[in-house]
């Protein structure tokens, strides 16, 4: 079997690829927002909440992140079938819970790094606990954790490919569709790999736009979750 490269079917299917890309971006963006919200709440509770809140937060993160994302996708898709949620919402839910647990861990560590003294000083100046978190602790923590967040979010974009198994028509799903019609296996997957590469790189650059996050010390903490 000689493999002859033929990129014309890929170009011919550019409409489908663009649709898939738009869906991947929409899916990732929605999951990014929800996982950040989950991460801030759960991570905040894990770092600064009561004993019960900390236990709950720990149980949440350990459970959510130790279940494979693929299982998350199937569970929310099949278990919530009676709600007749569209597959897209199920994918957002699964992706947000899974990534949210990772974000929570990062947020918890970030708040821990800001230090108790800061919080106590803020409380001493008469700020409420919420104000102290909002104005003193979170902004500093955000700067510290920005590189880890960048890494998590690029992870999230790649992970969104698993939504294809529940028929969300994102990039990987469309790649399968194009592959099935044209049989240009290699060309299709190389093309979408490169698209993911560009997306992921762009996304991680965006997160690093957070003021003050682009210094060397922070970059040194860059960790993959």
């Amino acid at each position: 079997m000689n493999y002859h490269f033929d990129w014309t079917p890929i170009w011919a299917a550019r409409g489908l690829i663009a649709e898939g890309l738009a869906m991947t971006v929409a899916l990732s963006a929605a999951a990014l927002v929800f996982s950040t919200v989950i991460g801030l709440i759960v991570g905040g509770a894990a770092a600064a909440g009561s004993r019960a809140a900390r236990a709950l937060a720990l149980a949440f993160t350990e459970t959510m992140r130790n279940i494979p994302l693929l299982i998350h996708m199937y569970i929310w898709y099949m278990a919530l079938a009676f709600l007749r949620l569209p597959a897209f919402s199920c994918a957002v839910l699964g992706l947000s819970l899974y990534s949210g647990a990772y974000v929570a861990e990062v947020v918890r560590a970030g708040i821990g790094a800001v230090g108790r003294g800061q919080m106590q000083a803020a409380l001493a100046t008469g700020l409420t606990r919420f104000q102290a978190m909002r104005y003193i602790v979170y902004p500093q923590a955000l700067r510290i954790i920005a590189p880890s967040l960048a890494s998590l979010f690029s992870q999230l974009i790649k992970d969104s490919s698993l939504a294809s198994v529940i028929a969300v028509a994102e990039l990987t799903y469309q790649a399968g569709a194009i592959e099935g019609q044209t049989f240009r296996t290699f060309e299709v997957y190389i093309t979408i790999s490169l698209i993911y590469l560009v997306l992921v790189t762009a996304a991680s650059q965006l997160v690093l736009l957070i003021p003050g996050s682009r210094n060397e010390a922070a970059a040194g903490r860059f960790a993959d979750a």
Partner: protein, 216 residues
């Protein structure tokens, strides 16, 4: 235990065994690949350094599912060789985890201060002794937590092999579900098994880390 699980227990256990088998091979081979690629990047071996960089950046920008499609469909078509879903899954996992581990190893090696090595040599230790007692413990200690993070991640990721037709735990569960139709029971059971596997491996990692921490 629910009926549907009991009835299909041997089949599901087979799947679990395959999950463990896939994970073990991928962890061992992936760690080797990561160590080599990370060292090449650290030492800056000419040419190989660029190859390693392209490999690492490419994999880190590509979803695992796509990597598996490439190792199962694209590479055999391109190079004209025969593979199985099992072997394609392992090669995909090794390529995938190797790229992340390479970055971890590189940062671990970077963290060992040159001053320590010189000090070791100055006190009359041989090169081997410096490597054994100074560089390795430092690098390993530094890298261990991220290594185990990646291993845990890999165990979860082996579920993706079901998409290319490997009947590991997830694949077995989905096949059983297709016939007996108890999605919630089956998926919840599988989820708990992964949860136990992953938490056990994390704990092993922490114990090992503590062990190394005491010795240095």
């Amino acid at each position: 235990m629910p009926d549907v699980i009991l009835k299909n227990l041997p089949f599901l256990l087979n799947g679990l065994w395959l999950t463990i088998d896939l994970s073990m091979w991928s962890i061992v081979l992936g760690t080797l690949l990561g160590l080599v690629a990370g060292t090449v990047r650290f030492v800056r071996v000419p040419v190989l350094d660029t190859v390693a960089l392209v490999y690492i950046e490419f994999i880190r920008g590509t979803p695992l599912l796509v990597v598996l499609f490439i190792t199962y469909f694209a590479f055999p078509a391109l190079f004209g060789y025969h593979t199985t879903a099992y072997r394609a899954a392992i090669s995909g996992f090794v390529l995938f985890i190797g790229a992340y581990l390479a970055e971890d190893f590189r940062s671990g090696l970077r963290a060992v201060r040159p001053g320590l090595i010189q000090a070791g040599l100055a006190t009359g230790l041989t090169r081997w002794q410096v490597l054994r007692h100074i560089i390795l413990p430092q690098a390993v200690r530094r890298v261990l937590p991220s290594l185990f993070n990646q291993y845990v991640r890999l165990i979860k990721f082996t579920s993706v092999a079901s998409v290319i037709g490997v009947t590991e735990l997830t694949g077995a569960g989905l096949l059983v579900n297709a016939r007996d139709f108890h999605p919630v029971t089956i998926l919840a059971t599988i989820a708990i098994v992964y949860l136990v596997l992953c938490i056990a491996l994390s704990m092993a990692g922490r114990a090992l880390y503590a062990h190394f921490a005491v010795r240095t």
